[in-house]
Structures are given as structure tokens and as C-alpha cells.
């Protein structure tokens, strides 16, 4: 079949639609990136540092990371801090599936990145990216609270540039 090489200009309405969609997306992403309400999935050591992250010295509230509610139904971000064991794996998946789209994941600590200290243990999972898609990895055992802040900044940048895992896969839910 012959292909048409003819170049056609988009119509006026199309242009307006495209521009508006882009504008709306930018505004939405700006909004999403600055109101990351986390679900604190604290299982072990990194959870204590996460408490420090929310407390006075670091004060995550400044960046829109409000520790409110703690319900998976109302959070955008899951902060997986602490070792995930094999018994816990299905619980993590359940909680993750309850969250509304778009959802972002920050894996905190060496255990969640690659297994870390417990790489030769029979009951831990070597990296939670085997179970759920992860946007930002934070190495360290446990990482300092400042690194949590860095991870949030990185995630905000990813969201603004439409590069988070949820946005790439098109799971952005209903705007």
C-alpha cells in the first residue's frame, strides 16, 4: 500500500488541545510532586531513621511530605524502610495494591536495594524490586535522614519530568 508522504498541519483545535493537555499535566505533576503523602512501611532499623526524618531536625513537612493518615488509600508514596522478609512479602504487595494511582515507591536501606547485610539469610528478600517497581533507591545501612530528603527531591524531579515508573507505565489514574 502506498503511504502518503503528505505532511498535514494539526488543526487549530488539536493544537489547543495538545497545549492545554501539556499545561494541565505540568500543573498536575507540580501538584503531585509537592504533596507526596507517604505511607510509612517501617519494618525495622530504617523506620527509626524515618521517624527522625519526620521530626524536628530534618522536618519533612517543608517538602510536602506530610506524615498524615498512614492509610494506603490516601497516600501517593510508599516509603519501604526496613528488611522485607518472605513472610512479609505478600503483605507489602497487598498494601501496595491498595494505593491509588499514581503511586511511587522509595526503597530505603541496603536490605531493600540488594539484600545488604542479610544477603545470605534464608528469610529475606534481596531487593524489593523483585516484588514491586521502585522509583528511587536509597543505599545505606541505615541511611542518614538527610538521604531521605535527597531521595524525596530526586522523586520530585522525576515526577516533574514525567519519568517516574507509574507515569512511564501510564498508571496515572484519573486526573
Amino acid at each position: 500500500m502506498e503511504e502518503s508522504n503528505e505532511f498535514s498541519y494539526p488543526g487549530l483545535y488539536e493544537v489547543i488541545f495538545m497545549k492545554t493537555e501539556k499545561f494541565i499535566n505540568t500543573v498536575l505533576n507540580w501538584g503531585r510532586s509537592n504533596s507526596l503523602w507517604p505511607l510509612t512501611f517501617a519494618t525495622s532499623c530504617c523506620g527509626i531513621e524515618m521517624m527522625t526524618f519526620g521530626a524536628t531536625k530534618i522536618d519533612s513537612d517543608r517538602f510536602g511530605v506530610l506524615f498524615t493518615g498512614d492509610s494506603p488509600r490516601q497516600s501517593d508514596l510508599i516509603l519501604v524502610s526496613g528488611t522485607i522478609t518472605k513472610k512479609m512479602a505478600r503483605r507489602l504487595l497487598n498494601v501496595y495494591e491498595q494505593m491509588p494511582d499514581p503511586k511511587y515507591v522509595i526503597a530505603i536501606g541496603a536490605c531493600n536495594v540488594s539484600g545488604g547485610l542479610y544477603h545470605d539469610s534464608y528469610n529475606t528478600i534481596e531487593g524489593i524490586d523483585r516484588i514491586i517497581p521502585v522509583d528511587v533507591f536509597v543505599p545505606g545501612c541505615p541511611p542518614k535522614p538527610e538521604e531521605f530528603l535527597d531521595a524525596v527531591k530526586v522523586l520530585q524531579k522525576l515526577i516533574k519530568e514525567n519519568r517516574s515508573k507509574a507515569q512511564k507505565n501510564g498508571n496515572i489514574g484519573q486526573a
Binding site: 510509612t40 512501611f41 517501617a42 519494618t43 525495622s44 532499623c45 523506620g47 527509626i48 531513621e49 521517624m51 527522625t52 521530626a55 524536628t56 531536625k57 498512614d70 526496613g82 528488611t83 522478609t85 513472610k87 512479609m88 503483605r91 498494601v95 547485610l117 542479610y118 545470605d120 539469610s121 534464608y122 528469610n123 529475606t124 545501612c141 541505615p142 542518614k144
Partner: protein
């Protein structure tokens, strides 16, 4: 009334008010719990199996993550058991530095308890304040060891580094700040706060018989009138050279468990002050090779961790790795008591009672 159904309620393992990953299965009639079962093991990371694969010196990081709120106590405990098994003498300066660090860690652990207890009963200010004071001590730990939560400071025969210059004055300065805050601000926030008192007094009573039945130790036992502290009963480190009291209460309710821990903070401050005053000069470690071999024997060492009596039973067989390492964790026994403790109480009180046990699941599940 007879038509009321029994409802099964799952608390945890992912619940913001549950400490760590403890799961409690409750049978509820109306608002009252009629049966409670606890399920643990969500953080079972196989610390005892990993011990059989590591050299004696390489096990300290795992020990850090056992009771991650009081990591230095765990390191000191493990160092003690290895040194006892291998007959390593540590210099007096190391003994005193270990005592100071153990007590600093005990204060930090209790501050976390105060903070999370406040958070659980809806007293968010208490949480923010306790973590603010903890951060001061965290800075000292960071200056001394280089790490924060998991410092990796203790090694076989002593510690990796000596105290940095001028840290003693800094510790004393921070201690006076904390003593001031505990004596004044925390009293206003907790022990003289009418809401706090009505929320905690008279609930979750653990009697002396229950303590003995379940084998509970530490601050929980002391809140029920059992005057036992391993630092006095079988003194280790430099505890026989310092003067301190064991705070005890009689009631055994959540309030007295809180008060015991608050008063323990003040006692720890007293211990650190005396240790800094008598801190001897000299070497800070006995040089020990990294890989050591320990002949075939069994060694049991027990020490008072902030949560109770922590013990290590080490079996060696002459090789460079432990043959078997069994950890005796205090909150493992305390959580067992929850099944009796949570019966016939209201749902709103569950959080207060669980928080007053102060479980750290890393140590329960190992």
C-alpha cells in the same frame, strides 16, 4: 445484649500504631477484647544462622540491627561474650568508655520510647520533643563512632577509636540539657498532664505473678515491684564502681512502666557523670587479631539492655566461626504476656499497653 456478635480484628503487621511488625489478632465483642493472640516472625532475619557463617569479628553489624534502638548495648553484649570465651582482657579505659556509651544508648532508647508512647496516645508534641533531645545524643554518637543508628563502634578487645578530644565536656553539656528537659518539660507534658494520667493509670496491670509466669525482665518487671537489675545483681563493665539506684514502682500499670523509664534516664545521667569523672587514661583497646579461634566451650553472658535481660549463649568448636549462637531476647517473653494482658480491655487501650511494653521487633524475631 446477647445478640452481640464476636468480631475478629487484625492489628498489624502494617499498622501505624503498632510498633514495628507485631500482629495481634483480637476477638472483639462490642468494644471489649475477649481473646487476643499475638503473631510474630515478620522480621525474622535469621541472625542466628548468619552467625554460623561469619567470623567472630564480622558479626557486629548484625548485632547492631537486632535491637536497633539500642545498638551499642547489643555490640557491647556480643563483645563481652566473645571476650569471655576467648579470655581477652580489656583495658580499664575501654571498660569505662563502654559504660558511658551503653548508658548514652540507654537514654536514647528510652527517649524513643517516650516519643513513640506519646505519639501512640496522641501526644505529638511529646514525640517531637523526645526526638529533639535524642538528636543531641545522636550527634555525640556520630562524633565518637562515625555512625548514627548502627554505629559499629565496639570491636573485640575494646573499640575502634578512642574518644575524640573534648567530647567529655560536650557530653556533660548535653546531659545537663536533657536532665533539665526531663525534670521540667516532660513532667509538664506527661506526668503532670491530666489527659495523660487518665489515659495510662490503672490499665494494663501486670502483677508480680504474671512477671514470674512469663519470665519478663527489665523495666517492665521493675514497674511491677521486682527489684532486679543485672547491673546491680551481677555487675559487669564498670557498674560496680559507680553509685546509682534502681527505680522501681509497685502498681505495674502502663503509667508506672513509663515512670520507671523516665527515672532510669536520670539514673543513666548520674552513671555517665561519674564515669566521665573517673575516666582513666591509657590504651583504649587490646589488640586482637581479626580472625580468632575459640576452643570448644559454651559461654553464657547476660546483660541489662534497655528492654530487659539480653543474653547470648555461644557455642564454639575451635574454628573461627561460632558453632551456634542463641540470643535470649527480653521482649520475646514480654510479648508472650500480651495474650493475657489484652483481655477484657477496650480497643482504644491496646495501643497504650503495647507501647508500654516497648517491643523492638528486630530483637523479638531475630
Amino acid at each position: 445484649m446477647g445478640k452481640e456478635k464476636i468480631m475478629r480484628l487484625n492489628f498489624g503487621p502494617v499498622h501505624p500504631a503498632m510498633h514495628g511488625v507485631l500482629k495481634v489478632i483480637l476477638d472483639v465483642k462490642g468494644d471489649t477484647v475477649i481473646k487476643a493472640q499475638t503473631e510474630i516472625g515478620f522480621l525474622h532475619r535469621a541472625s542466628e544462622k548468619i552467625a554460623e557463617m561469619r567470623y567472630f569479628s564480622n558479626y557486629y553489624p548484625i548485632m547492631d540491627k537486632l535491637d536497633y534502638v539500642s545498638a551499642l548495648n547489643m555490640e557491647i553484649l556480643y563483645a563481652s561474650v566473645v571476650e569471655k570465651a576467648a579470655n581477652i582482657e580489656i583495658p580499664p579505659r575501654a571498660v569505662y568508655i563502654r559504660t558511658i556509651m551503653a548508658e548514652i544508648q540507654r537514654i536514647m532508647s528510652h527517649l524513643i520510647f517516650i516519643g513513640s508512647f506519646g505519639e501512640d496516645i496522641g501526644n505529638m508534641t511529646g514525640f517531637i520533643w523526645a526526638l529533639r533531645e535524642r538528636e543531641l545524643l545522636m550527634n555525640i554518637v556520630e562524633k565518637v563512632s562515625g555512625g548514627r543508628l548502627a554505629p559499629m563502634y565496639i570491636c573485640n578487645g575494646g573499640m575502634f577509636y578512642d574518644f575524640p578530644q573534648g567530647i567529655e565536656e560536650e557530653i556533660l553539656k548535653v546531659l545537663s540539657v536533657i536532665e533539665n528537659k526531663v525534670n521540667h518539660e516532660y513532667n509538664a507534658m506527661f506526668t503532670k498532664n491530666q489527659i495523660f494520667l487518665s489515659r495510662t493509670k490503672g490499665i494494663g496491670i501486670i502483677t508480680t505473678d504474671m512477671i514470674k509466669k512469663y519470665g519478663i525482665t527489665g523495666p517492665i518487671a521493675r514497674a511491677s515491684g521486682i527489684n532486679r537489675d543485672l547491673r546491680k545483681v551481677s555487675p559487669y563493665l564498670a557498674y560496680d564502681k559507680v553509685d546509682f539506684d534502681i527505680p522501681t514502682e509497685k502498681e505495674g500499670d502502663t503509667y508506672s512502666r513509663f515512670v520507671v523509664r523516665i527515672r532510669e534516664v536520670l539514673e543513666s545521667i548520674k552513671i555517665i557523670r561519674q564515669c566521665i569523672k573517673d575516666l582513666p587514661a591509657g590504651p583504649y583497646k587490646t589488640v586482637v587479631p581479626w580472625i580468632i579461634r575459640i576452643p570448644k566451650k559454651d559461654t553464657l553472658v547476660k546483660q541489662e539492655s534497655p528492654r530487659g535481660e539480653m543474653g547470648v549463649f555461644l557455642v564454639t568448636d575451635g574454628s573461627d566461626k561460632p558453632y551456634r549462637l542463641k540470643l535470649r531476647s527480653p521482649t520475646f517473653f514480654a510479648i508472650h504476656a500480651l495474650q493475657e494482658l489484652l483481655v477484657n480491655i477496650k480497643i482504644a487501650d491496646i495501643f497504650v499497653i503495647v507501647a508500654s511494653i516497648d517491643p523492638v521487633m528486630g530483637e523479638v524475631d531475630r
